[in-house]
Subunit: 194 residues, 2 copies
DNA sequence: CGTTTACACTAGCGCTTGCTTGGTTGACCC
DNA sequence: GGGTCAACCAAGCAAGCGCTAGTGTAAACG
């Protein structure tokens, strides 16, 4: 068993598990299905992961880590105006939602299947990510770009964005960046869309 | 087995099933748990429902029907101004999300567990509900109350509202109506939320 | 060379799952 | 007072579940 996270082999297996989890849901995915997808037998799976739950935790951790990295890079890449940072965060959010779609869908649907320890660990990661949002929204409020309650606004915005995994079609006419810009336009009063 | 929907007994059982489903999730809820919650033995369950999936469909149907009724009543009760109708829809949406919380949480999380026939049937119900929203949003766009793409705006708004089931605490300081009004304020340009 | 390590295998244990079968009960009905 | 019917029960089947134990093997290391 691999105690610490992220041997290269384990990382690849995690990626494949994510695909199956999003197709079937965590509960409906059996260790035998996972093993077959990975090209090994079900017993061999437990050389890499202590149990089934640990696979779930690995999948979610991977996705959340990436979200944090992408958001931080996006913020570092833009100037300090509230508007630019708001756009950057929204775009970054949708970018992760697309590139790590599997992991995020799993996180949204199967979060409660995590055991308490894993949940505590991943909650910290998620809180760090949400803190970025609240910070950007605070700045936008201070500049008068948006109005309302800091807590509610960030919840509403993240809700609207996360909900996109339920209806957004990457093959469709709209790019993720267009979505992000439209959302920001909607909540800023300057909102003269198109 | 009860072929048509809604004998009084079946309705009560459906209500109890909803509670368990939201606690455990559909997959994790066994027919034995359901039976115990209902005060009967697991075998007797199949006198009322053909199989486990039919219980899920009954739960979701109940919730969606109520959402439709409440929204229609709310619209009938207010004047024809776009602003009033927007507020009414948002409030109605959060009202159902609270009073039929179990059913809606189940619908959000376990929709994909429905078999194709049930899904087709319930999709129609859901589409009827969403049509109400799009109609109200069309009117708000026409009046210049909000701006942007009709499709995107309605998706964003419903996302923000549905997401509340993940964080809203009914025991907390905010009433559902306050939430609804704050959201409407956020997306209308008149939004001077104190 | 011998030892270690990573990865995989076979075989199956103990348990739970959704659901079926065949039968019992008690209230209602002409 | 025989017939009907919804509601329930006891018992259990066949399948599938997560996971373990013990073993094989080939590359890496000293």
């Amino acid at each position: 068993m691999n105690v610490m996270n992220e041997s290269p082999r384990r990382k690849e297996l995690t990626r494949q598990a994510a695909q199956l989890f999003v197709q079937e849901g965590f509960d409906r995915t059996t260790v035998r299905m996972l093993a077959q997808e990975m090209g090994i037998k079900s017993g061999s799976l437990f050389h890499h992961f202590r149990d089934k739950q640990e696979i779930l935790a690995a999948v979610i951790e991977e996705g959340t880590q990436n979200a944090l990295i992408i958001a931080r890079e996006a913020l570092a890449r833009c100037d300090s105006s509230a508007s630019a940072r708001l756009h950057a965060m929204a775009r970054a959010h949708l970018e992760t939602l697309l590139t790590d779609r599997s992991a995020h869908v799993v996180a949204l649907y199967d979060w409660r299947r995590l055991d308490p320890e894993a949940r505590a660990h991943l909650s910290h990661l998620r809180d760090a990510y949400e803190a970025l949002w609240e910070q950007v929204i605070d700045a936008a409020l201070a500049e008068g770009l948006i109005h309302g309650d800091r807590f509610l606004v960030s919840r509403f915005v993240m809700g609207a964005l996360n909900w996109t995994v339920r209806w957004y079609d990457p093959e469709g006419p709209r790019t993720p960046d267009e979505l992000a810009d439209e959302l920001v336009a909607m909540i800023t009063r300057s909102g003269s869309a198109d």
